[in-house]
Subunit: 289 residues, 4 copies
């Protein structure tokens, strides 16, 4: 583990950079000031980058738009790898016919539709169509009535032996400087415990997420794991997942892991990043090339 | 483990009978037909009985009423030991001053009020009173908006270092012949995982529940554990809890454990009741004394 | 939560003091210097005290001897409540006939013998006697060959549907200033996971441990929970267990919880002692009465 | 889910077959009688096959030899994908310099040596070399003294902030018709709980295992997930892992999952194979082509 003063030296050392989104590029108050310089430098140096995110609430195009409206135009839809895309791939490969029930917003249902399947919000499942439901997907914590639809999801899974897929493994996510919200991963785990069945989960730290990104890249260029670095603010997802997949990793201290806690958290968890760096933001001088 | 044809012989063998409620005395469709004979025989034989239940949704008086309206008058409030009463005792002994926040119905707040503390529904916690909240109690799954108040409970517990008490350890409960509902114990476990703090839980199988009942009895008569038997339909709560406390136990097959599954479930879990009996209902001939 | 300078004021405030042993009265290097003054003051003030310990490796008499040889004579066998005694009570009430198999030292088998049952070390279980084994008890991490006998214990429990009792819930214990040892509670949990059965565990933080001590006292004098305080060095066992049983609690900083970590640990775990005190040792002036 | 009478039709439907080893190709009493016909047919049909196994006790060459001595010559070392190879890849990519400590047999240390690192059995770790230990690998349950070396492994991981890698996720494995043995995955999980650090685990059901095999194939031929089928006897490893990776799956009933339990286990776990087939053995007529 090495402390790095300047994130620029990380970019110089690798061909491809994977970034976590929240806590690395943005916080509840918007983009990290100066983060656009990082992407300007990446473009200038012809380095590639991907945003690897446990966010299945919206399509990659909608996620990209959310950066554009904040003034960061470098992040296009094809630069975003979301856990929703692994869900889509699973549905394409493994689920046939009729309906896929879901919990989440209408936007999140994109990942089911784009797999060529018919969507059915859990609220609309009833005795006449329950036998045509071939999977249940947990996409997002919004877009449904928790009391009605979480209870209904439990009973659908007790009656039907179908795969239950969780498109975001996170238990909670920040909603303001002070507060967090319960994420769909937390709700899904509660239901998994109650019904006693094994759910299929997509998202960091699971290495299938990194493999998906790695495969995408190898479709158009040869690359080795040694040439990729994962940048994240959370030891338990970004860093341990990147490590396990065989990537070098950078812990940045602009999000979940506070500067004062970093050493202690690393020692306590035994999750060791390759580098620690204050943030992924480059100083203005980085662009005087 | 012994199979018993007639529950009467169980009553004859012990001085005091503890009954679980749901699946033993009643189901979703009402009282078990004939269960009044069991209580008539208990009265006739001058045997004592208690209902030991993980139900903190209502006061013992209201729980007793729910039997009376169905025609079972033997069960008075002082015969009911609910996990809510352990919560009340905890609050009396361990929590002082100001407010106790809660999730549950107004009726369930009885257990806080009767401990002499001021109740505050989670929905009414705000910046001006959060510092006066000295405990948060999970009482019942109804009486609040899940989305708003579960998220709020998470954030209260992130901001305040106060005890969180779960007045019902169950994860789910039957709501109809086909369906279950998520119980407050399941919701509380999700929040415990998210906030990473240790909650205090009351209810079977925890032996403090049995101890509470045992202590109540010893206040007015001497008794030994050998003279008490616990009757329940669930291996993982009634039977393992009773066993651990040192009581003899009867598994009845009128609820959660189906007759065809009983032997397999016992072998798989390693939880062995002293007796197995079809149900706690006595035949009409039992009263021809 | 209140910081207390002098442990004397704790003694003055309660009728009965429960002490954890390791980290409170002694460490790997012997008794805490001066701890004999605490017991001298207790005797002088006619306050009662009990050692409440997750240690089933030896009988209470042998445990008491271990204090006597170090020069602390106040602690007699009848002052020691060990998780082994709950095991003994369980065996007396719930296990009949023939053999109880065990993992542990010969000394630890005391708790089986004193329940009037025949002991059989796991190493001596074979095809000719396995059907006579009516319980398996995990007593101590020493006294057997781990490879042979842990594997054998797994297979006994796969073949026989009998209760498995864990006489010490701890996962590890200190063996020197630097090192810990794996405790029988850790070994038992591994085997429980492998065989998939539900084990019965005795020891703090489980409240049955405190109940056992409370009951012992009430046999010879009336007492309320408000008159008892639990003193321990570990939030996750001593403090949370004492709190849940309804006792006031004192966290001392002479063992597991370091002074620099105490506040942070309390906030992180949400386990709040009634008092924090540097140690249970009284200053020499305490005895100038 | 479809029941298939003849495993031949599975082979006809896919280009590449992944086989679990134990319970599919062999049992404690040796090879499944007739399994050589399956491989003869695979060769005849020019279908490819891999053995995908959670076995890091020996090198692929030694594992292949174990089939050859039983008379099955089709399985060469390059047909075997073991969780040890993922461990080797991790060590190559992520661990530098000096020593890797390990628990396991000398044979299992092959996976460390072949990564170009120096091996150090846990028994030989001491104060003079502990600071040069850069990783600890759990390879196999044999080859060391459990009491001495499991305790030592705990203390190494408390003193050094280094990755701990588990080369086999299994908790137990069959050692005879009646008995199982505790596997290194079970021992490692106990130690992970005790030290409270996050270990890195390789082996089914983790999808990185399937990805490794998939990548190996793609180095010499194009293939899609739709052309591969995973054959296994265990729902919780082979089937759920294959499903999650996006492969079709076949549950065979020649090992862990008994014919009488299959439907119930599928319903209870919610893990649904694409096909169920009695075994992977072809009838003699399959070769009359």
């Amino acid at each position: 583990m090495k402390r790095i003063e300047d994130f620029k030296s990380i970019i110089d050392r690798y061909e491809i950079i994977f970034f976590d989104a929240f806590g690395v590029l943005k916080t509840h108050s918007g983009l990290l000031p100066g983060i656009e310089r990082t992407f300007a430098y990446l473009e200038d140096q012809k380095k590639e980058y991907y945003i690897v995110t446990n966010d299945a609430s919206r399509s990659p195009a909608q996620l990209a738009d959310s950066y554009h409206v904040k003034g960061l135009h470098a992040i296009s839809a094809d630069r975003i790898i979301s856990s929703g895309q692994l869900t889509k791939e699973y549905l394409e490969l493994k689920v046939e016919g009729d309906y896929v029930a879901y919990l989440g917003t209408d936007e999140s249902a994109h990942y089911i539709e784009s797999a060529g399947l018919k969507t059915l919000p859990v609220r609309d499942v009833n005795n006449s169509n329950i036998d045509k439901v071939n999977a249940l997907v947990f996409l997002d914590d919004e877009g449904f009535n928790w009391f009605d639809d979480l209870n209904k999801a439990v009973n659908i899974l007790r009656k039907r032996t179908i795969p239950a897929i969780v498109a975001n493994t996170d238990y909670a996510y920040p909603v303001s400087k002070q507060d967090v919200g319960i994420a769909i991963g937390g709700l899904a785990e509660m239901i998994e415990t109650i019904v006693g069945k094994k759910f299929i989960r997509f998202g960091k730290p699971d290495s299938q997420m990194f493999m998906f990104a790695y495969d995408l890249i190898r479709e158009y260029r040869p690359i080795t794991k040694k040439e990729i670095v994962m940048v994240g603010d959370t030891l338990e997802t970004d860093i341990v997942g990147g490590n396990k997949f065989g990537l070098d990793t950078v812990l940045v201290l602009s999000g979940n892991t506070l500067p004062k806690d970093a050493d202690n958290r690393i020692q306590t968890t035994g999750i060791v990043p390759t580098y620690i760096c204050d943030s992924a933001v480059l100083g203005p001088e980085a662009l005087n090339l």
